[in-house]
Amino acid sequence: MIPGPFRYRRVRSVDEAVALLSQLGTDAKVLSGGQSLIPMMKFRLAEPSYLIDINPIPGLDFIEERDGMLRLGALVRESTLERSSLVRQRYPILHDTAEVIADPLVRNLATVGGNLAHGDPANDHPATMLALRAQVVARGPNGERVIPIDDFFVDTFVTALQPDELLTEIRIPAPPPRSGGAYLKFERKVGDYAIAAAAVFLALDEARRITQAGIGLTNLAYKPLRAVDAERALLGQQPSEELFRHAAELAAQATDPVSDLRGPADYKRAVARTMTLRALRRALERAQANA
């Protein structure tokens, strides 16, 4: 399998990338980790005239906590995220997510930015970012804008990014005390997309009432999904197995999966419920450990 011909442009700054994107428009594709794009090009499902390689841009691979936010540069590799002690200790849900994306070799190139910008509902980070209420920072010819994650995913393979915009950073609110998150993915084998996966983030107050609840779901609708009703059902309540089962049921009801080789839609919905329930339990454990 051989990709179609294209022109290759290497950029060394975000401005240079944005300038090129503005000039080339939809003819150009951004090459980040390339682990989804290049296979699509081999099958000629993507035939961009230009590839703009942003990998040489220095300083886009930061992982830092600043001003109450975890900031991830768009070029942070999944394997870096997976190995980050900051992430492991403070954002275990992100660690959970990174370590189940594709396979370890793919993760050495695949980037967090690419995982979101691809707009693939089967990708894993979108659900986690939805659960965490992340923000996506994009730079365009008119400067930078911050896109709330809820506005970011528009359709299958379509995001709020404009053709002349580059995703530069992801911001995640720092976890409050008594909070915890977890991502649980059920896949047929390593390297597969999820049959269903759930990202859950919970924060409790001193009275052990749920003050924040975030639930994101992977590969269960035409775009990454937030289980709003389930979140609402959790808020203000004290965690219990009964409550979690109810929330998991609501999360499953929010899904709209398609039947495919991974299983029929009703099965995926059932697994969504199981994953949500188990992620809720794990998130609670972590929140309690984080008191």
């Binding site: 011909p5 290759y8 290049i38």
Partner: protein, 166 residues
């Protein structure tokens, strides 16, 4: 057709070439440099037969364009042996019968080399996870795990080998 100049260090030797942007790294290694130890087993970044180290990290060279590695360092299976001395991972695969048809072996070994660079004493579970981007159809993985454990022991015992980049 656009071509671009690249300079790449492969197994400690520096090469310059003019390549079409779409030339995949694996074809650059195999067809341009004649380093045919790196194999191709799929179209979907699934099998890992083409695994090489790029600046020390194992990547699937079928999913990297040669132009991307301009200025970088690549290590392939051909670069593992130094001064007639097999790398402990190579030795482990031979000692523990970690290969049968040999087709996935170079990629599998490159992943193993990178793993042991990072984690000199991996558990069986860690090894299995680390090689889960490399498919083997012959061995059932049991002896591959043993081969990597053999190499880990050998490396911990202080075998003098270069590891990683070049």
């Amino acid at each position: 057709m656009e071509t671009l100049p690249i300079q790449v260090t492969v197994n400690s030797r520096t090469y310059t070439a003019e390549v079409e942007p779409r030339l995949l790294l694996v074809h650059f290694l195999r067809d341009v440099l004649n380093l045919t130890g790196t194999h191709i087993g799929c179209d979907t970044t699934s099998c890992g037969a083409c695994t090489v180290l790029w600046n020390g990290r194992p990547v699937k060279s079928c999913t990297v364009f040669a132009v991307q590695v301009d200025g970088g360092e690549i290590l392939t299976v051909e670069g593992l042996e130094r001064d007639g001395q097999l790398h402990p991972v190579q030795e482990g695969f031979w000692e523990e019968h970690g290969l049968q048809c040999g087709f996935c072996t170079p990629g599998m070994m490159m992943t193993a080399v990178a793993l042991l660079n990072e984690n000199p004493d991996p558990t069986e579970e860690e090894i299995r996870k680390a090689i889960s981007g490399n498919l083997c159809r012959c061995t059932g993985y049991v002896n591959i795990v043993k081969a990597i454990q053999y190499a880990a022991r050998k490396l911990r015992e202080g075998a003098t080998v270069h590891v990683g980049g070049a």
